[in-house]
């Protein structure tokens, strides 16, 4: 699963941050994951622990902030909630949807010393 590769990217970013901002240890990481992102939050948590070993982020807590999916329905001309890719508009059933939010995989903040 590519969550491993994503975690390696995440830990690499954390190490880069530690280098540039000069902190020695990361205690917690807040990661925003959208409902439509191509990643499984549980698999991220599992892989993060393994990948973080021996780095500044060893034993750091990974806090996942879920972000709901939101799309613009061309038919209703309004923004509507969507939970998965391939779901229709909850109001009118149309698939003519433009995703507005929920695709992100983004580090928001870290707790450091």
């Amino acid at each position: 699963m590519h969550e491993l590769a994503l975690c390696e990217g995440l830990v690499q970013s954390l190490e880069d941050q530690a280098m540039s901002k000069g902190f020695a240890k990361i205690f917690a990481v807040w990661l925003e994951i959208g409902a439509l992102a191509t990643v499984e939050p549980d698999a991220m948590t599992f892989n993060f622990e393994i990948v973080a070993r021996g780095t500044v982020a060893e034993d750091a807590r990974l806090e996942i902030i879920p972000v709901a999916g939101e799309a613009w329905c061309m038919n209703c001309s309004t923004s509507v909630p969507i939970t998965r890719r391939g779901d229709g508009c909850p109001t009118c059933g149309s698939y003519q949807l433009q995703v507005l939010d929920g695709e992100q995989m983004r580090i928001k903040q870290i707790e450091v010393a």
Partner: protein, 259 residues
Amino acid sequence: MCSICGCGEHDTLEHDDHHHDHPHDRAPLHAHAAGMPATRMVQIEQDIMAKNQRYADANRRFFASQNLFVVNLVSSPGSGKTSLLVKTVEALKSEMRVAVIEGDQQTGLDAARIQATGVPAWQINTGKGCHLDAHAVGHAMEHLPEIQNGVLFIENVGNLVCPAGFDLGEAHKVVVLSTTEGEDKPLKYPDMFHAADLMILNKSDLLAYVDFSVAKAEAYAQQVHPGITSFTLSARSGDGLEAWYGWLRAGVARVTMQR
């Protein structure tokens, strides 16, 4: 080892953000045990795909500078990507420059199939990796002869999941679905069909033998990706290939005219 750069040495693209030999600053685990841990919060706002995106952007700039129309072929294993490419490069090599990057976990078999047509091809073996990333593609370009004003095909690792999330710098992802796989795949693997701009339904020669509804496959693809283009063809018989060639010619014309 650097997680993005498996190779370590010949850094040519955008490697300013690489730190291959940085010391891992390991603080003792209980350094703060004596008092309150003096921690603080740092706001970041960084996409965890940022690194791949930087390499993808660099690839895209390079492809634009060479007037290359770049297509990233994705599918489950065995849908017929290489068969389609062999047919395609045979047909197009006399009218435009063509090169191919092949991605598989192991073997150089697919690159050898392309090379047999006389078209340059480079094989990337991802080992345990389940997808190509933009960094590996950037390095693969070093092994291909310089080509301009043509098309570069990148055949991704056979996998309907992971390659969806990795931009390689291509103009389009093209998803190949064969008639033996079932028409429900766009619904089961929506991320991939959402990421692709063109769906190719391959092995149309087998439609008489399998219960595969082209109309349903297309409707499902529209559901996850409104407006997606779809061609039905057979890499084996050659049926329907002209529409695909037309799509490629139009793409190459677009990138060469932008000059």
